[in-house]
């Protein structure tokens, strides 16, 4: 690892992260309904091992449900999902770290205690967990706020702590539900660049749900555009330059702009 990439190195990758095949996510003939209400019609998708699959779609199309299914929080009505080498929900749950849309920081814990939750759940002592989590606060631009309560942090900072919490779980697969939605444009761009660097240093398989097409195309290797409910894949695109080092140059590149137009067109088509 280069010194630059080393700067972003996060939690020690769990043993499962090493096995490339075991870190992939594959979705086959997936369908899901809530009782009589179909949420997902039929999906066949793949997230490349140690790569990023971006999901964009209109609001309410079932993106969040899909993420929960992948993360092992639910069993699908029909079809098969494999994530981190596991096909059953319990296995997927053990190999996926799910980051919900809202930061959901526990208000009675400090920022560092929130970030260290996964470590504590696995039995780490409080001081050791705080030390490990605290080391990353500086890299996240949160230095000095370790002991702050969530109520004292801005929305952007809370989102970063929540992200830190997700990373520290050390799982090979990350399921991120609009992780940067509540951030302003500048912070969002910074966080996207940060995530790109973090993944370069500590490769994980990521399924990223976002409503921002540009964000999806910048961060992902492949982007799937979903239709309105019941969700199906309208179009799948390959991102031209995933997680490029120079974000500003990358998003103004003609290839990128063309891809974005295609994605937007597919989005409109599927939203009808």
């Amino acid at each position: 690892m280069t010194a630059e990439a080393n700067r972003f190195a996060v939690a020690a990758p769990s043993p499962a992260a090493g096995a490339a095949a075991g870190a992939a996510v594959s979705i086959r003939s997936l369908a899901h309904s809530y009782g009589e209400l179909p949420a997902i019609e039929r999906l066949d998708l793949e997230a490349p091992a140690h790569g990023v699959l971006g999901l964009v779609g209109p609001s309410g199309c079932g993106k969040s449900t899909l993420l929960e299914l992948i993360a092992g929080l639910r069993e699908p009505s029909a079809g098969a999902i494999e994530a981190g080498g596991a096909c059953d929900a319990a296995g997927r749950l053990a190999h996926c770290a799910f980051m919900p849309q809202r930061d959901l920081l526990l208000p009675w814990l400090s920022a560092v205690d929130n970030a260290a939750l996964a470590l504590r759940n696995r039995g780490a002592r409080r001081s050791a967990a705080r030390r490990e989590a605290g080391q990353l606060f500086e890299r996240f631009g949160l230095a000095g706020f370790e002991r702050a309560r969530p109520a004292e942090l801005s929305g952007g900072m809370r989102q970063r702590v929540a992200f830190l919490r997700t990373l520290l779980a050390g799982k090979p697969v990350l399921a991120l539900d609009e992780p940067f939605a509540s951030l302003d444009a500048i912070t969002r761009a910074e966080m996207q660049a940060w995530l790109a660097g973090a993944l370069a240093a500590d490769p994980r398989t990521v399924v990223l749900v976002t409503h921002d097409v540009e964000e999806a195309l910048y961060l992902s290797d492949r982007v799937a555009v979903l239709s309105a409910r019941p969700a199906r894949v309208v179009e799948e695109l390959s991102a031209p330059d995933p997680r490029a080092a120079d974000r500003d140059a990358a998003v103004t590149d003609p290839g990128f702009v063309a891809a974005r137009e295609r994605a937007m067109a597919a989005l409109h088509k599927g939203a009808k």
Partner: protein, 251 residues
């Protein structure tokens, strides 16, 4: 804090002054058509407090034990039962409606039976107070445990939390404000339960003393005992408020 107490404090002083005037001049007694010694003035009550301080302290200690121990028993039982219901949907469906409905039943009516069964000791009072405190705490805690954000549960499950860790790290802290509101209700019932238990059958305690003084027309001491009881109740309430401010410190 002092500024906030200023106005209510002035009201209290004014009322006491009015009372003192009305009682010591005999106006109050004339108004009610009673003998003067039946309508003591604040000064007379204060004097009785001082003169009988040993007796009042002795009986206050008895009643205090009944209140505190009964409250603690009710608290522990309420918390434990609510936690049990959290883990079993069947038990919850079976018992929750009963818990809510039974709050309408005046527990106090069982006090005489308890005295017949267990005698004049502290037992019956503890049972009455504990029962009175159990229900509001159990119901409030159950509601509090149920109010947890389902998204937070998903997040914790994804972070490898066991069922117990979920309860301890998320559901219990989330339920604390509810627990305290239930405890506040229980704290107002506890002194009533203790006094009622003493009225039904006791040989000591402030409630017993009040009844005795009533029969013997020792009105000043009766008021003094009532004052001590009120002070105990207010102190209990204040302690709870203090504990809540210290423990639930994230709002």
């Amino acid at each position: 804090m002092t500024r906030r107490l200023l106005l209510p404090g002035t009201v209290v002083v004014a009322l006491l002054g009015l009372w003192q005037l009305a009682a010591s001049s005999g106006a109050l007694a004339d108004l009610l058509g009673l003998e003067p010694f039946l309508v003591p003035s604040p000064a007379e009550i204060a004097a009785s407090l001082r003169d009988n301080r040993a007796l009042l302290a002795e009986n206050a200690w008895v009643t205090l034990q009944e209140i505190l121990l009964g409250f603690l028993i009710g608290l522990v039982a309420g918390l434990g039962f609510a936690s049990l219901l959290r883990f079993s949907a069947t038990l919850r469906r079976a018992f929750y409606p009963l818990m809510v409905g039974s709050q309408a039943v005046p527990i106090l009516i069982f006090a005489p039976v308890l005295v017949v069964w267990f005698g004049f000791g502290i037992g019956p009072k503890l049972i009455v107070v504990a029962l009175l405190c159990f229900f509001p705490i159990a119901v409030a805690t159950t509601d509090g445990l149920r109010s947890v954000d389902p998204e937070a549960v998903k997040m914790m499950r994804s972070l490898d939390a066991s069922r117990l860790q979920l309860l301890w790290r998320v559901e219990a802290p989330n339920a604390l404000p509810f627990v305290f509101s239930g405890a506040r209700v229980a704290a107002t019932f506890a002194p009533i339960g203790a006094v009622f238990g003493e009225w039904v059958g006791a040989d000591s305690g402030l409630g017993h003393l009040i009844l005795q003084d009533n029969a013997q027309l020792e009105t000043a001491r009766l008021f003094a005992a009532a004052f001590v009881l009120a002070a105990i109740a207010i102190a209990l309430f204040g302690l709870l408020a203090l504990a809540e401010r210290r423990i639930v410190n994230w709002r």
